[in-house]
Symmetry: C2
Subunit: 225 residues, 2 copies
């Protein structure tokens, strides 16, 4: 078996290893270096038009974990046992609208786009948001759009973790409004510029999962030749 075949097999094994871990071994902690690595795969994830509309809040504080647990039915076993618990925030319309101060700063100062090129991009992104995908239909559709980008980072972080033997659990089982209140109270939402998108717990499993089930390839792939 050559190097590429071995790599493919190793990657697929990580996909089989990964499962939604409901309960972690509370004694086993992820090293700082490994967790930094996981975050880095989030940072390096792609996002639509390069907006990077995300923020990763690492909730290690027990009191905050407790408050989140009261309003997150899907994180009952994970919040008390996870080595690291991430709340993934998405940027709201205040930051993701084509003409926001956030976008301008990102493009000019982080991505070093020349000002005249940025002017042209803005025209394109206006039409993209208004017409092509009708993202500006509502604040919610803008937030869901940013949320989709955060799911790219979410997937990459979970898969990268699995590739080095770290378990994870993605979590959508929470009361959106209540979680917002908890995060707002903890001053984590940058004055309405951020909102909760998903949660993800990381750690080491305490028990073996059930076998993975998936629809067959023939149900989910269609070729048009």
């Amino acid at each position: 078996m050559n190097n590429k075949e071995a790599k493919k097999q190793e990657i697929l094994e990580a996909f089989q290893f990964r499962h939604a871990t409901k309960q972690f071994d509370p004694e086993k902690k992820i090293s700082d270096e490994d967790f930094e690595f996981i975050l880095e795969t989030g940072q390096l994830s792609p996002s639509s038009v390069g907006y990077e509309p995300w923020k990763f809040v690492v909730v290690q504080n027990e009191e905050l974990r407790g408050k989140l647990r009261e309003v997150s039915w899907g994180a009952q076993g994970q919040l008390p046992t996870a080595s690291h618990f991430l709340v993934i925030l998405a940027r709201t319309i205040k930051d993701t609208k084509y003409d926001s101060a956030y976008v301008e700063n990102l493009m000019l100062n982080v991505k070093k786009v020349p000002e005249d090129i940025f002017g042209q991009m803005k025209v394109r992104y206006k039409s993209f948001q208004e017409n092509d995908l009708k993202l500006l239909e509502s604040e919610r559709s803008m937030l869901d759009w940013a949320g989709k980008q955060t799911y790219l980072a979410l997937a990459n972080m979970m898969t990268a973790a699995a590739q080095i033997g770290i378990d994870s659990c993605p979590i959508e089982g929470f009361q959106f409004e209540k979680v917002q209140e908890v995060l707002e109270e903890a001053d984590l939402l940058e004055d309405g510029h951020l909102a909760v998108s998903a949660m993800v717990a990381f750690g080491y499993r305490s028990q073996e999962p059930r076998p993975k089930t998936r629809k067959p390839m023939s149900d989910i792939v269609q070729w048009v030749k």
Copy 2:
């Protein structure tokens, strides 16, 4: 350097390798085995409550690629040059509502959930969709929810590709309604049960990309200790 450190470095190199490839070398084709591997990482991706609300259409037909190109400003260079071009479809409310025939079949026949357990799950998912995330607010919010899950598969497929030296480009730059018309005409939407979520082109780069830029970690990560 031990095995884990080498693996982490190799994964981060793949993240650096990956970029939104605008133009591919039209002469270089991905092998069937490698593309099957990429699709498999999509298949094995997680999704909220296990709904797998996706379908991957591999558009190799030149005529269909041409029609998509007319309504996809963001795929101008990719559609004519990509080795493989995927249209990622998301399942609509017809399939993703907690009491749909799709969900019932998936849970009972694919996941082999016992009927009484499925009954309890349905109550939970009803409340999840109606109250917790208010997904049932509109058909659009349900579609955006399914769309988010497809972005998990999208990220995994692009990263897995990069890990074996294959380039990709995720694409949102298209006119949603027009693409729907093209896909409907090609009879790919299962009678309104599917809608376009994103596109992604795969192949081999024809030129080297500009250096990657990202916001610093300190801007996107916040610890609550």
